[in-house]
């Protein structure tokens, strides 16, 4: 699909509510989806899955906003936001996650950097408190 256009403003690809797609939708710019897609959705920037949208397949982008329905895995290198109307049936991976009240999420969630930090904390044993080397004498 589209190459990144210098100085491009607004979305790179918009899939209307009356459109059905099968295959890989890939764009270097933003993608806005109102329609149905069976296949992969990939962007280096923002993917917005609107209320009327239905995606059956993996979604991968920098920022992913979900107000529609997705059956498939979602990977967001930046932020992943599931809005109140969002429905996800599949695994999600993001370092910055927001799930609004009313959203449906059935699946596994991994936060790669969060996990790493937690593991690091577990691995390094707690340093014993240093004792004062000087005695204070009253």
């Amino acid at each position: 699909m589209g190459e990144k256009r210098p100085g491009a403003s607004g979305p790179g690809t918009v899939v209307g509510a009356n459109v059905k797609l099968v295959g890989t939708l890939q764009d270097a710019n933003d993608i806005v989806i109102h329609g149905r897609i069976e296949g992969e959705v990939v962007s280096n920037q923002t993917i917005s899955v609107m209320e009327t949208a239905y995606i059956k397949g993996p979604v991968s982008g920098d920022v992913v906003n979900i107000a529609g329905k997705i059956r498939g895995s979602i990977t967001a290198t930046g932020r992943l936001e599931i809005l109140p109307t969002g429905k996800i049936f599949g695994s999600i991976a993001s370092k910055d996650l927001s799930i609004k009240s009313g959203a449906i999420f059935v699946g596994k969630c991994t936060m790669p950097e969060g996990e790493k930090e937690a593991e690091e904390q577990e691995e390094t044993p707690e340093q014993p408190k240093k004792q004062n080397e000087t005695y204070e004498v009253e």
Partner: protein
């Protein structure tokens, strides 16, 4: 649509006068029953002219581009344009507002290399093509890595292969639109689509829909469109260069 013959001759004389005033000389040819635009363009190319100036509407300009592109000389030859209609897309593309500014653009000869769109096998255009139908139709399309279908009544294809699809019928009926207007309520457009690709094919169900460029039918569906990047050198007005 070309103007009547009398007006055409008057206009031609006027253009010759302006070009003479600013010091541009060249051979002038007019298409006739004996010699078509395509034949005249070929003749110009054979004579070794490096610049061909099209005076007319987009239909005429596209016929010249067809010859330049199919003979694979579009990268060497330069196309100057004096449009009939200065409100047209082509006039906006080269940024000329009247006859004098169009002639002046030829004098200053600022070149811009532009993308052109090809409809298989050999139709080319530089502004936009439109597939329009009064009623909604199921359109099937295939892009680089995907295939799809849409209920649409209007498809616009622009060079760079920017594709706009719109479905007017789903915006609601006249009454709901009137109520929306009355309440100053602007509905969010969720029925328009936009894609950018290198190749696209459109097919329609049970009918061959006309593909129009400047109101003239140049092809019918099923049709495959390609983007031909940086394929043609055109002369544009100076302001156009400042803008870009």
């Amino acid at each position: 649509m070309e103007p009547p013959k009398g007006k055409l001759i008057y206009r031609q004389e006027k253009i010759k006068d302006i070009l003479g005033d600013i010091g541009i000389a060249g051979e002038t040819v007019i298409p006739s029953a004996a010699r078509t635009i395509e034949e005249l363009t070929q003749l110009g190319v054979m004579k070794g002219y490096s610049t061909i100036v099209a005076v007319g509407g987009e239909s005429l300009i596209n016929k010249i581009i067809n010859i330049l592109a199919t003979q694979k000389i579009s990268k060497e030859a330069v196309l100057g344009i004096i449009p009939n209609d200065f409100e047209s897309l082509i006039a906006r593309k080269i940024n000329v507002g009247d006859l004098r500014s169009a002639c002046n653009a030829l004098k200053f000869r600022r070149l811009e290399t532009i993308d052109i769109c090809q409809i298989e096998p050999n139709k080319f255009f530089i502004t936009e093509a439109m597939v329009e139908n009064p009623k909604n139709r199921q359109i099937y399309f295939s892009l680089d890595t995907m295939a799809g279908s849409a209920q649409t009544n209007q498809i616009i294809i622009k060079p760079g292969l920017n594709i706009y699809m719109h479905d007017k019928a789903l915006e609601g009926n006249a009454f709901s639109r009137f109520v929306g207007w009355l309440l100053s309520r602007k509905e969010k457009d969720i029925f328009s689509s936009f894609f950018q690709t290198k190749k696209v094919r459109f097919e329609s169900e049970n009918a061959n829909l006309p593909i129009k460029v400047s109101g003239e039918i140049i092809a019918k569906t099923p049709a495959t469109f390609y983007n031909r990047p940086r394929m043609l050198k055109i002369i544009v007005a100076r302001d156009k260069m400042k803008q870009s």
